[in-house]
């Protein structure tokens, strides 16, 4: 019975893949990022006001801001493209906002201490075998910290994966994204030089 079920499921998936086209595209609504609770360089710094700028992602001609990758099934067949809402720039900015507040600081757009960033990579793939999909996000950002005339740029990257034996669904994609956001912001929270610069101790 199981083999019949798996056979039918495979045929169904192949048909879905072959017919997906744009109707297989998905927009993943990523739930609000939850700040990490552990102690860090950022939480150890005295309370400060920080100006939080945008995180920009360079887009090519005709590239959609929220598009991050593609789901595939066996045989390199596309199941459709994946976009996220909010777009990656906003997702990263929201994650930094949550972390700054959770660490006891406040956002003030007139502050001399500021941070802004660029998104170099935010690419989703779903490598597949006969048994499972890996939902994989490869992300890299740079964060520019400024305080007066002093500035420092840090680069933070993460590769996050979750394996599924059922279906690389939207909930898994959202979890993987938030996992990578936690990893990248975690690296920033413990970047001693950047935090010292924000606190005016360059």
């Amino acid at each position: 019975m199981n083999s019949i079920r798996n056979g039918l499921l495979s045929v169904g998936l192949l048909l879905l893949g072959a017919c997906a086209g744009v109707d297989g595209d998905v927009i993943v609504a990523v739930p609000a990022y939850q700040a990490q609770t552990g102690a860090s360089q950022l939480s150890a710094a005295p309370p400060m006001a920080i100006k939080l700028g945008a995180f920009r992602r360079q887009l090519g001609t005709g590239e959609l801001p929220g598009r991050i990758g593609e789901r595939k099934t066996i045989g390199n067949i596309s199941l459709g493209l994946v976009s996220v809402n909010p777009a990656p720039g906003k997702l990263v900015q929201n994650a930094f906002l949550a972390e700054i507040k959770a660490a006891g600081h406040r956002i003030d757009n007139s502050s001399a201490a500021s941070l802004e960033g660029k998104i170099y990579r935010f690419a989703l793939r779903t490598p597949v075998t006969a048994l499972y999909w890996d939902v994989l996000l490869d992300a890299e950002i740079s964060v520019l910290v400024k305080n007066g005339s002093a500035r420092r740029t840090g680069r933070y990257s993460a590769v996050c994966t979750e394996r599924t034996y059922a279906w690389p669904g939207e909930d898994i994609i959202a979890r993987v994204i938030n996992g990578c956001l936690a990893e990248m912001t975690g690296k920033f929270r413990n970047d001693r030089a950047s935090v010292r610069l924000l606190a005016g101790k360059s």
Partner: protein, 279 residues
């Protein structure tokens, strides 16, 4: 004490799942799986194969709206849009091949090659000859020529016989569109409302073309692919109105998603022509 549950027991939903899956599969086949899906394009990590690409997009800077509500369909006239579609196509080709290390020269103004009749099967050679005669052809590498097709609202290449059948089946109302409009290539912006939105999905912008890969020096055809489709769904509802009534924001939205459809189509064509090779 628990008793073993038989596979056919009402508490075991498997047989229902089989029939559900079979029904869904059948519906998908019937719903038009003959239409080639718009895949996203060239593989990441591919490397240069031809050394240089001359890229010639024969694409009209026009859009045509088709409104469908499930019971009726109305097609509008072609509208000039000023999106610099040919220029964008050249930039897209260059961006897509940058990672592979292939330099691209885009040529956007080959006159007279766009509207060849269906019998004209030598359009790619005509473009190549014209470029060569005017000394604009870089003899290195290969030439890609894209010739835009006329599409119907589903993004399929326009087919008068199928259109006639559709007329008989669902009582289509032909609006301002003339037969000439239906045969002319343009972006197709299909606005789905009401029952059609539930049945056919979101509103979408489509562009289709045939693509040829030629040896730059000899003009020999190295690869060909027909009826490539670039299509993007609008994430928001589009109001059921004519193009001149679109606000600046709505026109901007149409431009964004139609240009995204163009990128998707070009990437797909490059993938099928195997412009790059694996490392």
């Amino acid at each position: 004490m628990t008793e073993p549950v038989s596979a056919c027991s009402p508490v075991n939903p498997r047989p229902r799942r089989f029939s559900f899956l079979a029904t869904v599969s059948l519906m998908l086949v019937l719903a038009g799986c003959g239409v080639r899906p718009a895949a996203p394009g060239i593989e990441a990590g591919g490397v240069d194969r031809y050394g240089h690409i001359t890229f010639v997009p024969l694409i009209a800077d026009e859009v045509r709206l088709v409104w469908r509500d499930g019971a009726t369909r109305e097609a509008g006239e072609r509208q000039r849009v000023g999106w610099k579609t040919q220029l964008n196509a050249g930039q897209i080709a260059s961006e897509l091949l940058r990672e592979a290390g292939t330099p691209v020269t885009a040529i956007e103004d080959v006159k007279g090659a766009l509207l060849g009749s269906d019998e004209d099967t030598l359009w790619e050679t005509r473009v190549w000859r014209r470029l060569k005669a005017t000394g604009r052809l870089d003899p290195r590498g290969a030439v890609i020529v894209l010739r835009q097709n006329a599409l119907d609202a589903q993004g399929r290449q326009y087919n008068p016989a199928r259109d006639f059948l559709a007329l008989g089946l669902v009582g289509v109302v032909i609006g301002a569109a003339t037969r000439d409009d239906a045969f002319q290539p343009s972006f197709i912006l299909a606005i789905n409302t009401g029952f059609q939105a539930a049945l056919g999905g979101k509103s979408r912008c489509s562009i289709g073309f045939d693509a040829r890969l030629l040896d730059a020096k000899s003009g020999a055809i190295l690869g060909s692919v027909d009826a490539v489709l670039g299509q993007e769904l609008f994430p928001v509802e589009i109001e059921n109105k004519k193009w001149p009534e679109f606000s600046a924001d709505e026109r901007g939205l149409a431009k964004t998603y139609c240009t995204a459809a163009l990128r998707r189509g070009i990437a797909q064509a490059m993938s099928e022509l195997e412009i790059t090779r694996r490392r």
